[in-house]
Structure formats: C-alpha cells, structure tokens
C-alpha cells in the first residue's frame, strides 16, 4: 500500500494559506443536504460539530457521556499554547513549530505541525470571544506562563482548569447549534462500528446505552474525535470511560493505526497507593515552573523516608540531589515530559524513591515560596520581614497560582504540600499514536476523518505540554471544517445515504453477535480483573522502557490473555438494558487487540525516540538514541488477527535539521 500524505506544494509557511484559498467549497444550498457524523464531543469533536453546524451542514454528534460537557478534555489542567508573542520574548509561529517538531523527537510531519502553530493564534481569539475566562494581568490583558520543553512564555491558562474552560466554550458553541437544529445531539450513544459503503465511510452503528438498542446512522462522511487509548494500561490519568473502541472499530474496517507504541508517560502524577486503584491523578506540569524535583543523595535517607522514620524536611540541603537541574542545566526542571519521566525512573531504580512503594520523587516548592515571599516583602516595602512572614507571603502567592492543584493533592495524598514536598511519579497520560491521517485529516478510508488525540499527526514521539488542547481545537475549529470540503465537494450529487443497504445490515449483525458472544461466555472473572492484568503487562513490558525480548513476551502474554478473556469473562445483566459492565467488556475486548499491536509496533521500531525508549538504543549518558537513517517514518499498521501489516510513510524534513535532541 502506498500512503499519500497529500501535503500541498510550496514553501512551508505558504502551504496552508494557499490550500485554504484553493480548496474546493460546498455551496450553502448543497451544505444543507450534506450530512456529517461527528463521534466524540470533547474539544476536537464539539468544536468541529459546532463549526460545521454554523457552516450549514446537517450534523449528528454522538457521545457516550450523559452530556457533551463531561468529555475527558475537561480534565486538562495546565494550559494551551499559542504563538501570540504577547510577552515579547521572541516567540513566533516558526518557533512554536520548531519546538513541537523537536519536542516530538523528529517523528511528526512538518507541514501538519506548521499549520498547527499557524492556527494556534486564532484559537485564543476564538476562545476569548466565546467568553473563556483566561488568566489576566492587572492591565486587563491575557497572562502567559512557560511550560516544559520551551524557553518562551506562550501558554494561556485558566487557573489549573484550562481544559474545563475551553471545553465549556466548545460545549456552549455546540449547544447553540443544537438549539438551532443544525446539530442533532445523541447523548449516551456509543459508536459500535463504522459502516463502509463502496469504499467510503458512510455511517456508524451506535448503541443507545440506556436501552441497549442498536441504531443505524448514515452520513456523507464520518469524523472521529474519540480521544486517546491510554487506558490500555488500565492505570492512567485518563478518565475511566476513555477508550479506543471507535478508532479500533475503524481499524478493523481497514483504517491504519499509526505509531501505536508512542505513549506519553507524564512525570508528575500522584503515586499509586494500593491495588484497588483504577485511576491515577495528574498534577499539572505547570507545577514544574516553580517546583524543584529531587531525591535524597543517600540510600539510607531514602530508606528512612520510605519507612516513615524521616520526612523530606529532615534532609539537609547538601544531602539532596536536584537531579534534573544537575543533568539538564539549560532546561532544569522544565525538560520535556519523556526526559523528566525517565530521569525519575532512573533515580527510583537506584533505590532512591521516597514513597512506601519506592516509586516516587519529591516536587518541592520551598524555594519558590521563599523567592515569592521575598519579592512580595519588597513590593510592600517590608525591609526586615521575618522568615516566617516571608514564608506566609510566599505561600499566599503559590496558593493564588496553584491553589486548586495543591488542594486536590492534599485530598488524595492526605498531606499538606505547602509544608511537605509533593510526592510524584510518572504515569500514562496521552497517546501520540492514533489513526493515520493525511494533511486533510482524512484516514486511508475515504470520508473517514480523525481529529484531536484520536489521530497521530502532530506530536511525533513525544507531546509537549499545553499542546493537546491546542491540537484538539485547531483540528475542530480551523482545520477539519476546511479540509472536509475536499471530500464533500464531490458528494453534492450523492443524495441521502440509505441505512437499509447490505453494509449497514452486515455491520449491525456483526455488532450484535459481538455483544452476544461477550454476554454468553458466562465465565468466572470480572471484566475489571482482565483489564487490570492487561494493564500490568503493558506497563511492565511496553511502558517507560522496553526491550525486544520483553516485547515479544508481551505479545505472547496478551494473546493468551485474550483467549482466556473469551473463555472466562463474566458480564452480568442484560444486553438490552443500561449495563455499564457490558460497556466495559466490549471496550476491554478492543484494548486486548490494540495492546498486541502496540507490542508489535514497539518491537519493530529499533531505535529510541521520545516516549519510546528501547533499552538497546541509548547514548552513553542514557539518553534516547534515534536511528534517523532507518526509522524516520510513520509506522502505519493494518490490523490482522494473526500478522498485522506495516506500511511506512517516510517523513521528509525540508526545513528542520535532524539533530540529537539535547536539553542540557
């Protein structure tokens, strides 16, 4: 199979401009007759559905949630990047583009990433106009902060709840279109299969989660904005409902899954506390702006802390190892996520971990509290403030900046982070891999588009902080509404798509038999227990570091687990009813296939890049060692139960020189 990325000709900075002014359009009278299905209503889906509704298309939007406002985009804390250069610190579209390509360890497409950087500025304008309450300076203008992996302040934020505010903005825009009838909203409906008619994506089979009824929905094209698949690891920062099923069903219908092994392990999460846990909680990366990461220098101190005989406060300054500052003086605590995560693992592997499980490092705010306190004392003209007063003033500043995050930490960990440093450990957070798409965000199935985290396109092998929100909204508001014109301009004579065709019939029948199969196993083990076991295999063998042997073993273990699943899973209740256990069951069934593909993809990529760290390929200092000569490509996989097939899309870099990524 040949993959055509359909990147427009011309210089990098002109491609999108030219594309926009030459892409075929659909006239307003025809838009009214063209139907579009949008699956998923997070940032990418809600913004796309709203925008397409505004443009005049007939949109049907689907979410498995009870309301579009619950999508997992809502949990993003930190912020959203945009190349506004409001801070006059040398930012530009090119710099955002460059940072993103470099941050992704040179495994993303130049043209897509440049377009993302280009539209980033429009996103901020759009969100402000919608009433998103971004943080402001005293002069009334928008405030920025810096984030990991960059040296400028280009991140816009709304306290620690940026995702929530952006999603509510998109949800409100969507609600407005629902009220006019431009968008028909299907809450509590889950996509069970993609329907392909004569080679084109023409609809979906959806399950009404309240009644269990299977429904056929047709359209001229289908947009998947269904998020990432981090929950294949069972424990992740993803919401409990986040799943791969929509994208995986598309894969089973012939769409290609690209770079599935590129997973982001986020460095600052609250460590696991017990086996009953099913969900990990992120502490925003923005905390690394002011928090310093450290472990004790001595093994004895670490042991004493683990056993509860000492606390962080007992460790003298000279006995602390601020290992990120030591190893990466140029970026310090603000190195990208993949680098910070691996460094934490290295320290804990040495036995320097500081939680009872040995899997945690400190994130300490005492320096920041002192620094802010002194600045505040200066501003107030207090020349002889006592250390306690300075601390109190500094604490107040930190509270204003990160109050809700500190509160959340205290609720979960039961320890006051203003006094004791936070304990953090890396956890699965985001998946850079996803459905293969071309420049139009169209998959290899004509008429099937993938937006946001569901596609693979912009983050290469590692995503920089505050760029997931940017990509979701870029795809939904500003990219897909243009690029689907390319496909739909040829559909104006097609007429309504009939849901009684053989393809719909067949897809519905297959869905029903899939559900029946799961209900009829009537085994002895819960869905949850299988998911937990899958997660452990993934984390141990396809997690923060991987090797060929482990990946081979992992693939074997997953195949065995899958077999056991279909022999011994127990799904209670009925299929024609509201049945959350059944929902879990068919999602886990899909994870059991995706997990195998991730093992295969990681095994095949004989290099280390970004979040994909193969132990066999590292520099003498333990950094990721890329192999540009052999692996500068996108690995796009066609699923097959026995031997998935790989198609390579070579990545061509015309503007950026590939160098060893260094943050030292």
């Amino acid at each position: 199979m040949q993959l055509d990325s359909k990147i427009p000709e011309g210089p990098l900075s002109e491609k999108w401009k030219k594309y926009k002014s030459t892409v075929p359009l659909v006239a307003p009278n025809n838009k009214r007759r063209i139907e579009v299905i949008v699956v998923g209503t997070g940032l990418a889906g809600a913004s796309a559905a709203a925008t397409l509704g505004e443009l005049g298309y007939k949109v049907k939007a689907f979410t498995f949630h009870d309301s579009p406002r619950r999508a997992h985009s809502i949990a993003a804390q930190g912020g959203i990047n945009a190349a506004k250069n409001y801070q006059n610190d040398g930012d530009s579209v090119y710099r955002l583009f460059y940072d993103t390509i470099k941050g992704g360890d040179y495994r993303a497409r130049e043209a897509n990433v440049y377009r993302l950087a280009e539209v980033s500025t429009q996103i901020i304008d759009q969100c402000v106009a919608q009433g998103v309450p971004f943080a402001r300076e005293y002069g009334g203008l928008l405030e920025n902060m810096s984030f990991g992996g960059v040296q400028v302040s280009r991140t816009f934020y709304a306290k620690g709840q940026t995702g929530q505010q952006l999603l509510i903005g998109a949800y409100q825009a969507l609600s407005r279109q629902i009220s006019t009838g431009a968008v028909k909203m299907y809450n509590r409906h889950e996509m069970m299969d993609l329907v392909v008619v004569d080679g084109k994506a023409r609809g979906i089979i959806a399950r009404n989660l309240l009644t269990g009824e299977l429904e056929r929905h047709s359209a001229h094209c289908v947009l998947l904005a269904t998020g990432g698949y981090g929950n294949v690891f069972y424990l992740s920062t993803n919401a409990m409902g986040s799943n791969v099923s929509a994208a995986w069903r598309a894969t089973r219908r012939g769409a290609l899954m690209a770079n599935p092994c590129f997973t982001q392990i986020h460095p600052t999460c609250i460590p696991q506390s017990g086996d009953y846990q099913s969900k990990l909680t992120l502490m925003s990366e923005s905390l690394r702006n002011d928090g310093r990461v450290w472990v004790p220098k001595n093994l004895e101190d670490a042991k004493a802390i683990r056993e509860g005989k000492k606390t962080a406060l007992d460790i003298k300054e000279e006995d602390r190892d601020y290992y990120l500052e030591r190893r990466y003086p140029a970026f310090g605590n603000l190195v990208p996520r993949d680098v910070a995560s691996r460094a934490a693992k290295v320290e804990c592997d040495k036995g320097l971990g500081v939680s009872p499980t040995g899997l945690a490092v400190f994130l300490d705010f005492s320096s920041a509290i002192e620094r802010y306190g002194k600045a505040e004392a200066n501003t107030q003209g207090l020349t002889n403030a006592s250390p306690e007063e300075i601390k109190a003033m500094g604490t107040k500043v930190v509270e204003d900046k990160y109050g809700n995050l500190f509160e959340m930490y205290e609720k979960i960990a039961g320890e006051n982070p203003y006094i004791y440093p936070m304990k953090i450990y890396p956890a699965v957070h985001y998946t850079m891999g996803g459905l293969w798409v071309d420049y139009n965000l169209e998959t290899n199935i004509p008429g099937l588009f993938a937006l946001g985290e569901a596609n693979f396109s912009d983050h290469g092998a590692n995503r920089l902080g505050a760029s997931a929100l940017m990509q979701g909204l870029a795809d939904g508001y500003f990219v897909a509404p243009y690029t689907i014109g390319q496909f739909l301009a040829n559909e104006i004579r097609t007429g309504e798509i009939n849901t009684q065709s053989a393809a719909f019939e067949e897809a519905e029948k297959q869905t029903k038999s899939r559900i029946d199969r799961l209900m009829n196993v009537k085994g002895n083990q819960s869905v949850e227990s299988f998911h937990r076991r899958l997660g452990k295999i993934m984390w141990d063998l396809c997690g923060m570091s991987r090797n060929a042997e482990g990946l081979k073993e992992g693939r074997r273990l997953i195949r065995e687990l899958r077999e056991e699943f279909y022999k011994d899973v127990f799904v209670p209740g009925n299929a024609d009813d509201f049945n959350p256990e059944l929902e879990k069951a068919y999602r886990v069934a899909d994870f059991l296939e995706l997990g195998e593909l991730m093992m295969i993809d990681a095994y095949e990529r004989n290099e280390s890049c970004g979040g994909h760290f193969r132990e066999e390929y590292q520099t003498p200092e333990g950094e990721a060692q890329r192999d540009d000569e052999n692996y500068t490509y996108v690995a796009a996989w066609k699923w097959d139960d026995n031997e998935p097939q790989l198609t390579k899309e070579p990545l061509v870099f015309e503007n950026v020189k590939l160098i060893q990524r260094s943050y030292k």
Partner: protein
Amino acid sequence: MSDMKLTVKVWRQKNAKTPGKFETYKVNANEHMSFLEMMDVLNEQLVHDKKEPVAFEHDCREGICGACSMVIDGQPHGPLQATTTCQLHMRHFKDGDTITVEPFRAKAFPVVKDLVVDRSAFDRIIQSGGYISVNTGQAVDGNSIPVEKDVAVKAFDAATCIGCGACVAACPNGSAMLFTSAKISHLGLLPQGEIEHKHRTLKMVAQMDKEGFGYCTNIGACSAECPKEISLENIARMNRSFINASLTTDK
C-alpha cells in the same frame, strides 16, 4: 494502612418505572481509598457473586467532569465541603460506620438506574441561551478586549461550575437557580457576553422553569453543598438581571 469494615446501604432501582429500595452490603475498605474505589470494591464483590453491580456515574475521578453524583449520608457528594464524591476519601469515615448512598433526588432529575439520574435538563438550559453568539473565525485579537482582573476572576469563579447537579439535589425545592445563575454570571460579567445578557437571562430562566425545577427560597443549601463553592451572589445577580431585563427589554 488501617482496614475498615463498613456497612453500606445502597439505593437499588431497576429503572424510573420500577420502585427502588435500599439494599445493605458489607464492604472491607481502607482509609486511602476514594469513596468510588470503595464502591468499586463493592461492585467487584457483587460481580464475583454473579450479581448485578451498583450502577453509578463517574468518569474523570479528578473532581472536574461532574459525572459523579451520589447523596452520601444525606449530603450530595458526602460530608466533606468543596469536594466531589470521587475526591472524597475513606479516611473521613470510621471503621464500623454505616453509610447510606442514594441518587440525587429531584423532580427534574429522573432516576435512570440505581444511583444514575438523568441530568439532561441542564443541557437544555444551556441550549436555551448559555452561550455567546459568535461563529468560528469571527473573533478579533484576544488582547483587543481587555478585562479587568477582578472581573475576570469573578467570571472564572462562576464558570468553574461542573454541572453535577448537587445544588438541585441539596435544595428542598429542587431548584436549579445556582446552576443557571452561575452561567448567566460567567457570561454576563464579561464584556464579550454583556451584549446578550438580558435576552440570555430571560430565556434561561424560562427554560429552567419549563424543566420543572423549583423556586428559590433563599435556603442556601445549594451553595453549601456545591463542590466548586459557587457563591449565592450569583443568584442575587441573576434575580437583579431578570427583573431589569423583564422591565426594560423590548424583545
């Protein structure tokens, strides 16, 4: 890590048409678990015994999506202030406790199953006017609309509402005034949203009434139980706006 032996009384109801009742279960938990993790343990137990697990809504488990929605010992989201059920941890309970768990109860929130209720009325209130009418691509530069910091903070505080419905469940009248007023305040305080403010207020209040939510009698339970501590000030602001809009609008 200290273990806790709990008795949990859970409301079980097949659907809106079938009457529900309390069932009593024994659960072994520990103090580090979140409340929902304790419910997971219970469900795992039920599945193990080939029984149907308790249906409850949850998703992000970080206190932000607004999905979780139980009434615990008579209080929406349980005993801890400014905390959603998913962020409530068992260290706030004692070994041997009996805990009662019910769905949010309100006329406008019919029960779907067990602890799950239908909160789509909130979506319809937003659809009636809870937005700023701006199409994609029409916006001016973000910094061309300066907003005074204090105003931005107030708008933000109102906008932190997670749409969970605890305010309705807490209110003896089943009123949605806190939810509706938070949205009206969030948008109305900002210069971008001020233009449609009157019209928005009238439409959203009308929809709220149509959905069957009760009236506000200034009890304040809504704000006390709100996991995001949305202030009663918003209701006062909405009432003023409503009167003003009713008297002065020419629509």
